[in-house]
Amino acid sequence: MFNLNQQGQIILLATIFMTLITINVVLLISNAINFNNNSRYSVQGLQATNIAEAALDKAVASLNATVGSYTGEGETFLGPGSYEVTVTTLPASKLITATAYIPNKTNTKIRRTISIQTAKGAGAAFNYGIQVGEGGIVMSNGANVDGSVYSNGNIVMNGNNTISGDTYVAGGTQPSPDQQTDCASVCDFQFGGAGFFSQIDVAQSFKPSVSSQLNKVSLKLKKIGSPNGDLRVDIMRDNGGKPNTSSTLAYTNIYNSLVSSTYSFVTVGFVAPAILTAGTTYWIKIHPDSSCCSSSKRWSWALDGTNPYNLGFGSYNNGTNNLWNSLTTSDFVFQTYMGGVPTKIIGAQPSNTKITGNAYANTLYNIGVGGDAYFQSEGQVLVRGSNCSTNIYCHVVSVDPGPATMPISDAQIAEWKSQTATNPINSIPACSSQITLGPGKYIGNVVFPNNCTIIIKSPLYITGNLTLGNNDIIKLDPSYGLSSGVVMTDGLITINPNVHATGSGTAGSFLMLLSTRDHSLGAAITVDNNFNSNVLDKALLYAGNGTISVANNVKVNEISAWGITLSNNVTISYDTGLASTFFSSGPSGAFSAIKGTYQSK
């Protein structure tokens, strides 16, 4: 039955082993293929997410470019995939939904959908977490800033200070205008097209008295109705009595929201200023958005027909560069401010006064820089641990950074104030636990007791001082939803310890505490310890003409002031990315994404 002499056992044995090995190899290959597919899936998923986010960015830009008429687009190819966008109009916003496909919609392997809401409103553009005017920043011993800073004035670091981010100090601006004119009588020159077909671009020529960089200009403007878009301002050379439109030396934008319905000087700085030559003719040209205007909405630049300025004249065209019409006996109202005032970042010693990012200033002295340094002069500076004698991270530049424009104009504040005039508040109710206040105007000082919750209906204007007691909570009424609100004072805002200030509770809503008090009268806002310690607190502090004095452990989402003083051992941190914040009143701004509405599906 069983033949011991049977041959082929080795083959049988080998076959069994080889079968097992083959199974192992097949499983290994199968696993490798599985891993390869999984990795490819992960990479393609990431690609799809990035394409969808790019599509969202493009959609927001398209909404602004088309003044809100963009409705989305069908399948559009981008990189390794494609996307499509839909825009849905909601009561107070627009919902943008972007879907990305890899490799395309027809043969989809990966799909990602991301949505976000956008809105438009007063659109104050907070481009920097901490923005400071000519008053600069004074950091007492041990004070730190957790984030980037843009200052039009000096930054003084007195010892044991760190700014954790890029730091800019603009070149100093002369205190008085180099060239200027104003309007004595009737002065209206409306432009923008639509009813004013030959008056689209407008320009004024001037001759600087000194050779220096042009840091900023002030233009007397107003809006009629609600024109769309911003105004672009170009500084151009002269070409035979008209602007040389192919030679822009510097440019900036006047945000729509900075211009009000009554004439006022709107001041804008040039972040990359032009160097002008004394006695040479240059032009300030304003170009509106192509769809800005209609018969009921347009711009106006004050024009004096009595020829008050004899070093230049006004001109306008119909949007075609070479067809300029000179107003040889009239001048648009303007002011030019030259630079040439050295500004600096000055520390105590490089080892304990540090900027971890890049540093940009006319003069750097006695500081340590973790990134690159850009300056015209320096002394006792260590950049990435070495002095600047042969350091590739030290850059000697010829032009200082230009001054940044404060995000809210005096004209806009005046307009907010005027809206409160029809709602006078005759008395402030006593606060035992909670009160509701506004909208309206209260004449006098307001002092809230400790442990009071104040619900704000915006805008609220207090002509005197505002004092918030210990542990007070001041917040925007929930009905404001996505919008932000503002509390304005002409006097000092005192924020005692442990105060919380926040928006409506909806993500993207903020409460702004704003003081118009001038720096010559003392501090405009004082902030004591532990302000906004709750992660959900959302507040903006604004004192465009005054100083904000900050105590320890303060968290803000944005702080803008003429000057900022940080006490001993203060650490100030802020949220960035408030490209635009929308207020419940005021003129329209640009479309921008609303924080808290990003959804990935």
């Binding site: 080795i10 080998a14 984030g147 971890t356 409506s504 990003y598 959804q599």
Partner: protein, 185 residues
Amino acid sequence: MLEVLIATTITGIAGSLLVTIMVQNSGLYTQQTAKVSQGISLNDTTTQLTEAIKSASFIAPTYPSINPVYTTDTTTTLILGVPSYDSSGKTIDNTYDYVIFVKDSSNPKIFRKRVFPDTASSRKSENRVLLTKLVSILFVYLNQADAPAGVSAASKIDFTLNVSEKAGFSDVQKSSNGVASLRNS
């Protein structure tokens, strides 16, 4: 007799070779399978972390706020507050769900994702094991300038995951790193 001896010797040599090949093959199989398994788990975990961070409005220091069970730190736990949404997918104002990535306290090799939705939210609760061979995790909280920051000031999170397991006679290790911004912050 000589033939039997030769046959036995050949069989022995061939058998030894086959057994050696078998053992090595099994070792290779075990190691490669472990690597593949770790890679897939890390890919999935990285994707889960990135998407949750991008959707987050804030990093919560604790959850729940009263008598907290979880506390955000750098080596075991990340608590994210993400906007709640209703049945139509619309965000609910001022309402947040909490997504927690946590190293299991009873078995530190296990890395979990837990979702605690608000009562008004349509987001589903979740208790999902992402990794079973975790060695360490590290969360670094960064501000907008990419500098280390406190939890309340963070706008980005840099995370690193390390996994390791015994495969055959050696350890198989893998790590994954990523940075994501809080898009809803």
